[in-house]
């Protein structure tokens, strides 16, 4: 058979394949963009049955206890509902993100999933994956019970698209009193300059001044250094375009961040936030900057006593400021067990639910009417600060309150580079550029 004849026979399968790929490319575009698929806007009555699948990435020590407590409470109230705890570990949360993204994209959402309140939820809202639950807020009377500032943050175009269950505080520094005593230090630093001075004494005593973990914990540190150096107004302006990233003040703050990192165990950065705290627990390191979920690790997992085995205060330079983030639960469009999902949200926004979840999670309730007898020890401080009108409230970068997914992703990339190079100018330029690029 001649070459030409052979070739023409090969064309048939090739054509088939080409046709298939065209068809698929066309099909791939046909997503369900029909309507919001919203269900009834009323609280379901009658007996609960079926399932509740709750999707999160809370799997580690200190992260999952709160979720488990709340799920258990739900089970007690609705014994006929099968509760499925669909948590995915690993990959710094991206495993869960990937699974969630593919499920949302293919129209098979869980009954409810976890998201940080604020900017992080924006893409879900814009893409029409979550239902507006402001009717739930109104029916349950939450509009009067949730703080104004928070409600403002989570209202998008007049709708509210998730139920915040807690308020976590980001700007905290944790330390081991024994280590400070050994190095002759009386109190944690009130500014980052003071930290640098203390660091020398600590290193002389053979202790690591500060421990860090994976990239997001370094970002967590960054935002609090920025807050401590720039103050709440300038910090807040960083995320709205009001503060110039490439200004002198910001560059100086970024330089401070690099200096702080030099006194950390960056070279042996732990792979997760809990192992990053271990050297502090073990007495080999002094400080760790982490949000108040660290409380659960110190107290519950490690069994240490507040003020004896560990202590905590506002991170340097941030006294009187509250850097907040909030875990919130959503009502996905086309949730398979929508009634149970609504019941779940109802529980999450209730006083009982929040008072079950938060004392175990290390956070304070999003509601302003907690049973304060449950929030003792460490919790008195954040509870007081949050309701104090003089506290300056700002949102967290690392935990999705102020930067949307697209911009934050670019910031993450730039930060990876910055941590290695120490080039503040380049980082600032990259972040500013990314802000422009990611505006819709």
């Amino acid at each position: 058979m001649s070459w030409i004849q052979r070739r023409s026979r090969a064309i048939a399968p090739a054509a088939l394949i080409a046709a298939a790929s065209l068809v698929l490319a066309a099909c791939g575009g046909d997503d369900d963009d029909g309507g919001n698929g919203e269900g009834a806007q009323e609280i379901p009555t009658g007996d609960a049955s079926g399932e509740l699948e709750f999707f999160s990435w809370w799997t580690g020590g200190g992260d999952s206890e709160g979720k488990e407590a709340l799920l258990q409470l739900f089970e007690e109230q609705y014994p006929d509902v099968g509760v499925v705890d669909a948590a995915v570990a690993g990959g710094a949360g991206t495993n869960a993100q990937a699974v969630l993204a593919s499920r949302l994209g293919s129209g098979e959402p869980p009954d409810s999933y976890q998201r940080h309140a604020g900017a992080e939820l924006l893409s879900d809202i814009q893409d029409g994956f979550v239902e507006d639950v402001s009717w739930l807020f109104e029916e349950e009377g939450w509009m009067d019970v949730y703080p104004e500032a928070l409600l403002e943050q989570i209202t998008v175009d007049g709708g509210i698209y998730s139920v915040p269950v807690n308020i976590h505080r980001s700007n905290l520094i944790w330390w081991n009193p024994a280590v400070l005593a050994e190095a002759g230090i009386d109190a944690p630093p009130a500014s980052w300059d003071e930290f640098l001075t203390q660091a020398e004494a600590l290193e002389a005593a053979g202790k690591t001044p500060l421990t860090v973990g994976p990239l997001w914990t370094q970002e967590h540190l960054l935002e609090n250094v920025l807050l401590g150096e720039l103050g709440p107004d300038a910090y807040a302006g960083l995320w709205t375009g009001d503060t110039d990233w490439e200004s002198q003040e910001v560059t100086a703050a970024l330089d401070m961040f690099t200096q702080v990192l030099e006194h950390s165990n960056l070279g042996q950065a732990a792979a997760d936030w809990q192992p990053a705290i271990d050297p502090v627990v073990d007495g080999d390191a002094a400080y760790n900057v982490m949000g108040d979920w660290a409380w659960a690790y110190f107290e519950t997992v490690q069994g240490l006593a507040f003020e004896e085995g560990y202590n905590v205060t506002e991170s340097p330079g941030t006294e009187g400021m509250f850097n907040w983030l909030s875990d919130s639960f959503t009502l996905p469009v086309d949730a398979p067990n929508r009634d149970n999902a609504v019941r779940w949200l109802q529980l999450a926004g209730s006083q009982e639910g929040q008072d079950t979840f938060n004392p175990v999670k290390g956070s304070i309730p999003a509601r302003t009417d907690p049973d304060s007898s449950l929030y003792t020890g460490y919790f008195e401080m954040p509870l007081e600060d949050w309701s104090n009108p003089d506290t300056a409230i700002v949102g967290s970068l690392a935990h999705g309150a102020v930067a949307d997914n697209a911009w934050k992703g670019e910031i993450d990339s730039a930060l990876q580079e910055f941590v290695g190079s120490g080039d503040s100018a380049a980082f600032a330029a990259a972040v500013a550029q990314a802000y422009e690029d990611t505006r819709p």
């Binding site: 490319a25 710094a92 893409s123 879900d124 990239l215 992703g409």
Partner: protein
Amino acid sequence: MYRLRKWGPAILLILPSLLAIGVFVYGFLGWNLTVSLSDWRGLRPSYNYVGFENYTRLASDGRFTNSVGNVIVFTIVFVGGALLVGFLLAYLVERRIRGEGFFRAIFLFPMAISLIAVAIIWRWLMSNATGAQQTGLNRLFSSIGLEFLVNDWFKADQPFAVMAVAIAAGWALSGYIMALFLAGMRGVSDDLREAARVDGASERRVFWHIVRPMLLPVLMSAVVILVHISFKTFDLIFAMDAESRLIEMPAIYMWFTTFDSFNFNRGAAIATLLMVGVAVVIVPYIWYSMRMERRQ
């Protein structure tokens, strides 16, 4: 009609596979290409054509060029290492020594373990914690007097960090390369060797002149398989140190940018480039070995 009767059943037998591959491989690749030429960002698909913009952006993306550098180093060390060790193992085991089955089993068995498990074990072995927390190989070295071997492994400076990961990967796959070489060596008929011996050749020369050239096709298979595994390496890096810039490779970057930041277009562009990279190695190989086959 005769033709159809002759070849009909044959084509029928392979038709399901062809359709499946057509859709699930080529169809999806086509979709992937389409996305890489679009502006899709965020969870809702968007197919507006933007030309090669995503690709040109990658060229100036520091994170991408870093990952490409890493995968090149990784490929060289991993492929080279696995070939050397695999060959050495095959050579040592080949001579019908006692306990051959036992040795083979030991070297082959890392293949049975999932790369996630391999990463978990090696992550611990290669821990660079210090002081009381020192553990893993570093602790072993310290306690038997080999202090100078203590290092930061996959947290060391590039490119050494990448080499550390290549060690773990090499451990997992050398046994397979050994099996390939062993099969190749055994395939050289004993007659040929005996003939050479009769002619007065020493064992070493028998090996060098008779056995070695026959191993060329095996070597090529091995290189191709290793290179493509190297480009696709994901599980290992992911479970070892997912966010580390030191060892990030395009496959990992693609994952993060797609599923963390929802830059589907950029992710698709990276995936396409990965494919092209693999194709550059694979396609000549396939073409060459088809030609070799036809000659036989």
